[in-house]
Symmetry: C2
Subunit: 224 residues, 2 copies
DNA sequence: ACCTGAACACCGTTCAAGT
DNA sequence: ACCTGAACACCGTTCAAGT
């Protein structure tokens, strides 16, 4: 928006998503990226002054997409709920997007606007600015954390399976056997009851989001 | 506990904390670590098979410390509140501890035990295992995110000041000027009202924690 | 304006060889 | 059991030089 993308600048961003999908953010390198585009590594530096700034541009692309996908509807609670669900859906469209947003301080144009949109949903509520800001950051962090955990779980899972041909659940249970059962009794029970398969599901996401929104609601009620 | 630390193994861990405090987790390298201890880089690999496993050991040290600092007292709400506050306090004792815990899947002994301890606080509540687990993960993630944000803010701040001799607040306001004011009106108002100085304070931490706990409370009430 | 080759100053990790 | 030197296969980034 504030800067028209040249063909090649867009090309770098496009190839970056491809590389992130292939190798993940840990193994992302400027050399591999250049290779994918068909140029030499130093050429990228003509478009982005550093890897950091490239990542920021990627993060901002995601933020912009989230912003575009958001449409206010219903009361503040329904709005925040929809915003969070929409944000998660958009994050899932881009590889490693949660990491990118986490690594970027929210001082980019579209990221700021996204936060502003979230803030607008609770603007009329009888809360202090401090509260409003803090609560919105909590909701956004919740969505990001959820995606981060999901990503990490998938990583360890595929890594484990390619190495030992064991599922993560099997391995977890094996780990538990080495720890005195009484010391982790509750978590042990949960895992043997098949809780593992539920981690990261839509239901879990909505359930965690719900306590956040109910918590905010209580604060609203308390101060009106 | 399950493995007696040799003098040098403890020495590696000790030096690791020193290096993390000096350089941060991004610039942590095995070579610098070796240098700090007074050995060659490959020697570290006798104690820890990889950088990853060294980080896991560090994370587990933090988890153990949190566990030791926790003492159940009061009802479930007071307990969770104290646990979160204690966890934050312990995280602040170690440099980059939040990053270390975030990077580590909770499958280490002491980390598991820590989660179990949190779970114990809400064990008697009339909630499903799924809910209990999810809510506790939310609380733990909240504490970690809060520390992460704080760390990131400090990083950018010192980086910015050494480069441009500007404070983060000045720079943020400058960024705002480049964005159409109407599009970020709320966040703009908040920043000009001095909200910036409040980010990351104890008060903010407790305020966010509170909506989580109240949210859980509502769920308890709803299902009893 | 856009791209390259060569180079700098680093990485994590392996491994034969030393004591 | 513990440590080293040398080496492998990488990094991000700079910069003079090309077109």
């Amino acid at each position: 928006m504030n800067k028209k993308l040249s063909v090649s600048e867009a090309r770098v961003l496009e190839a970056s998503w491809e590389l992130l999908a292939q190798d993940g953010i840990e193994k992302f390198s400027m050399r591999k990226l250049a290779n994918l585009i068909g140029i030499q590594a130093p050429s990228i530096y003509w478009y982005f002054k550093s890897k950091q700034l490239l990542f920021q541009a990627l993060a901002n692309q995601v933020a912009k997409d989230i912003l575009l996908a958001i449409h206010p509807q219903g009361d503040w609670k329904e709005q925040l709920h929809d915003y969070a669900v929409t944000m998660r859906k958009q994050l899932q469209q881009y590889p490693c997007s949660a990491q990118l947003l986490m690594q970027t301080l929210p001082l980019e144009r579209d990221y700021l606007q996204m936060i502003n949109q979230f803030l607008q949903a609770i603007e009329p509520l009888p809360l202090s600015d401090k509260q409003k800001f803090n609560y919105i950051i909590c909701v956004i962090n919740y969505v990001l954390c959820h995606e981060l955990d999901e990503y990490e779980r998938r990583q360890v899972e595929t890594e484990l399976e390619s190495e030992t041909e064991q599922s993560l659940e099997q391995w977890a249970l094996h780990v538990f056997e080495q720890v005195p059962a009484e010391k982790i009794s509750i978590i042990h029970r949960m895992y043997t009851n098949g809780l593992f398969a539920e981690v990261g599901t839509d239901e879990m996401f909505v359930s965690g989001l719900d306590i956040l929104l109910r918590g905010i609601e209580q604060k609203v009620i308390a101060s009106s």
